[in-house]
Symmetry: C2
Subunit: 327 residues, 2 copies
Amino acid sequence: MNQIRIGIVGYGNLGKGTELAIRQNPDMKLVGVFTRRDPQSVQILTEDAQVYAMADMERMRDAIDVMILCGGSATDLPKQTPEVVKLFNTVDSFDTHAHIPQHFAAVDAAAQASGHVGILSVGWDPGMFSLNRLYGNCILPQGKDYTFWGKGISQGHSDAVRRVEGVADAKQYTVPVQAAIDAVRNGSNPELSTREKHTRECFVVAKEGADKAKIEQTIKAMPNYFDEYDTTVHFISQEELDRDHKAMPHGGFVIRSGQTGGGAKHIVEYALKLESNPEFTSSILVAYARAAYRLHQEGIQGAKTVFDIAPAYLSPKSGEELRATLL
Amino acid sequence: MNQIRIGIVGYGNLGKGTELAIRQNPDMKLVGVFTRRDPQSVQILTEDAQVYAMADMERMRDAIDVMILCGGSATDLPKQTPEVVKLFNTVDSFDTHAHIPQHFAAVDAAAQASGHVGILSVGWDPGMFSLNRLYGNCILPQGKDYTFWGKGISQGHSDAVRRVEGVADAKQYTVPVQAAIDAVRNGSNPELSTREKHTRECFVVAKEGADKAKIEQTIKAMPNYFDEYDTTVHFISQEELDRDHKAMPHGGFVIRSGQTGGGAKHIVEYALKLESNPEFTSSILVAYARAAYRLHQEGIQGAKTVFDIAPAYLSPKSGEELRATLL
């Protein structure tokens, strides 16, 4: 079989998850991991793949079909994706919702110029959740959207807590409010405030001698991050944090509650329960890498999102097989 | 605005639902309903649309962009869709899973020859459920699929009960077994027999003097329809049946339970709770009529299923708007 040759840029949680996901898809193979670190210092799992420096990318352009970018959305991807798509088809998980239009424009310009496909903002939100919002809105144009996240660890909020004076380490869980979910599922179309939809739960390791009451106050009053939520703060030891809060579970719900033309009410719900956020996200990236490869084979170019990709492109099966087995 | 001009073939529950759904989509208008009955005898809701005989179709070919076929899968659609797609772009809800490959081949041959687009097997199963099975399989290649239907009325099973000797009228509900759903949601990947997944509940009006015990026995022993299920039979009056069982609710769940490369478990669930099966189904047909129109505008032709349609084609919004609001 002619395997799709994949490269990974960045070898953190998402990059490692991508490597694991490639192994579950026999029509793909990992060729190399590109890192900003010293390549000698990075140990990967795949025996017949290699670790490269970023500067090696150009000379690998004929050896890799799709590059999966596993950096962060704050500073890595806005620079990397438009650069890398000059040389390769790309998939990234850019997730700063407000900046998607400008990221799309930058990737599109570079991809159109180089004749590649750049699929951006792939993952579960943006990604699978977005798809469910779109399908829900198109089927039930008269209705309301609800998105709940969690229970799961928010990296951004955990980082914010760790920056509080006197905090040695911390993890923050976003928790959807069950009563709000129930009200939405019942079709009552409630208006929900930020506070009514989610609560926040922090597990904090305080530095020795730190003022715990002050830490708790500072967290709860933090603008944007916590002030609009009901927040609980638990002080625990570093051992407890490492033992009980090391996993990266997440999940959530997208619900479309609407009414059809004769007045009948309908609830469409998409729910995820994930033991590992990065492993699930990278599995989506890998499925879209297959789509990027195929679109490019068909002569398509430019920036794309999950909205632009026909679902069949994600599957290794032929149209005939799909119709016979999954339709 | 240049509205998409829609025709409806068949004016039963699905045809009526389609008419109602078109009214919720300002970028579309209903031009005409085509019926096998005497057009004079059919009263529709839309004031500026007309009722036509089937034979009028040919002369309307320049007045309609997409024809939505609302007949049944047993005898209507296998004949109608390949005929109608010679003149128009089409959308149908062909739902006999086992015969989809041959229906696809027939529609594709006619659509390729005439240069039209024929989207087939649109609805929620096949349709939205199929999409969720496909996305689930591509993201979690190592896993299991579970589809549950109900609680809702099955037309086929209700018909079967009505054919039993001594039965005046009947409705049959398909009911998913909660314990089975819970086991799947918990990630235990159970092997479930037909009997363990669904029960069947029949509400039966017996003819005067009929042997109720014998009716019940006959129903429960009916091969294919009931013998592999735990079935409950309730005898009620025609008044009760008309009063309490007139609505057409339905719904169900598609669950993908899988494991990513590092061993983490994940549950992806798509759930529908519908007050009116035909109104919801026809709302999906109308969204795909928009896609059929656009694909045809782009010069695409041939048979398509939901697997082949990029989600953005379903929405009246531009790519830019979609990225800014729903991604």
